[in-house]
């Protein structure tokens, strides 16, 4: 069967998946350990940063987006971009509505 640009063929070794799992477990433990360190206001940034890294690893390798067509990569990126729009627009309203009234 031809290698269609819409549905590319690829082959991944089980050992690669094991490495992905180990990376995810290490990152989860790192995130937990970090919560006990005195990093103050930077903690949420680190915590969400590590969670984003983990989510990207799952999406790229377990969900095979790394080997998928450009259409699929764009679809997933568009989905997360829409979610970011929700966050940014809502928070900009909540933080600026009472601007100067504090």
């Amino acid at each position: 069967m031809a290698n269609s640009p819409l549905h590319p063929k690829y082959e991944v070794k089980v050992s690669s998946y094991v490495l992905v799992l180990l990376a995810l477990i290490v990152l989860s433990c790192l995130n937990t350990g970090l919560a006990f360190l005195p990093v103050g206001i930077f903690h949420p940034i680190f915590a969400v940063g590590i969670a984003v890294a983990e989510a990207m690893i799952v999406i790229l390798f377990f969900m095979h987006i790394w080997w998928s067509s450009k259409l699929m990569k764009l679809t997933v990126a568009a989905g997360f971009f829409t979610f970011l729009v929700l966050i940014v627009m809502t928070l900009s309203d909540y933080t600026s509505r009472a601007w100067g009234l504090w």
């Binding site: 269609s4 998946y17 937990t32 915590a47 969670a51 829409t82 928070l91």
Partner: protein, 246 residues
């Protein structure tokens, strides 16, 4: 009438061509069918993202408003169970990836075992979650009529100084979001386990290993998505402020 229906199909002049039984008539090739259904599955997952996104948004705003209440309430959760559950769920994602791998390799026995392992890990996750829910009921930390702010106004077991009663009341907001988000996540897992159980039975009978792996692919995508949601829930709910500076 039937012959006319075939005629408008567009390929009548070629006559009947050989193709697998699972290739639906409105697709030209198996690749095209896979690309289209994979695209559809991802669109479904992206609207699921927006569904959970609303709750994450509510969490973000209330956490910013009532941070002391959120920090105190978060500290009453058992982070050890949270971390163990995270590792269990990540491992179940791994076994689900193996299921896709073995379906493609046409190894029916390994496929059935990988699905079964994912189900078992999912059930263990839900079991641990149930013990956590039970603790919350015992501690009167479930929002509603039996909710008690006592632990928060006395600072008992919260790891942070005692707080005023009005701020302590806002811990109910945290627990409402905690139960809504983890509850909705658990519901997704229960649905996922149901789908996997169905597939396990069919896989044991030899399904999915004759080239038609799509149902396994999409069950796997769904399972991974539920995993991704938990990857964010764990730090946001369990690790708000484990190192109080004050």
């Amino acid at each position: 009438m039937d012959s006319q229906a075939i005629a408008v199909h567009g390929h009548a002049e070629e006559g009947h061509h050989e193709h697998p039984a699972y290739l639906l008539h409105h697709f030209e090739t198996v690749e095209q069918q896979k690309a289209a259904s994979n695209f559809g599955m991802w669109l479904f997952l992206m609207q699921e993202l927006m569904f959970f996104g609303g709750m994450f948004m509510a969490y973000l705003v209330y956490r910013a408003w009532y941070y002391p209440a959120f920090a105190a309430a978060s500290n009453t959760l058992n982070w050890k169970i949270g971390l163990i559950n995270t590792i269990i769920l990540l491992t179940s994602s791994f076994t689900m990836t193996l299921a896709v791998h073995y379906a493609e390799k046409r190894n029916a026995k390994a496929l059935a075992n990988a699905i079964l392992l994912s189900i078992v890990l999912g059930v263990v996750f839900l079991g641990l979650k149930a013990t956590e829910y039970r603790d919350k009921f015992v501690e009167h930390h479930v929002p509603g009529a039996s909710f008690s702010i006592e632990d928060f106004v006395t600072g008992n077991g919260t790891g942070v100084p005692p707080m005023a009663a009005d701020m302590a009341q806002h811990t109910q907001l945290y627990f409402s979001l905690y139960f809504a988000m983890t509850g909705m996540h658990a519901l997704h897992m229960i649905i996922g386990i149901g789908i996997l159980a169905f597939m396990w039975v069919k896989a044991r009978a030899g399904a999915y290993t004759e080239g038609h792996t799509a149902p396994i692919d999409y069950a796997s995508l769904y399972w991974h998505f539920v995993d991704v949601v938990w990857i964010f829930l764990f730090p946001l709910l369990y690790l708000v402020n484990r190192h109080p500076v004050h």
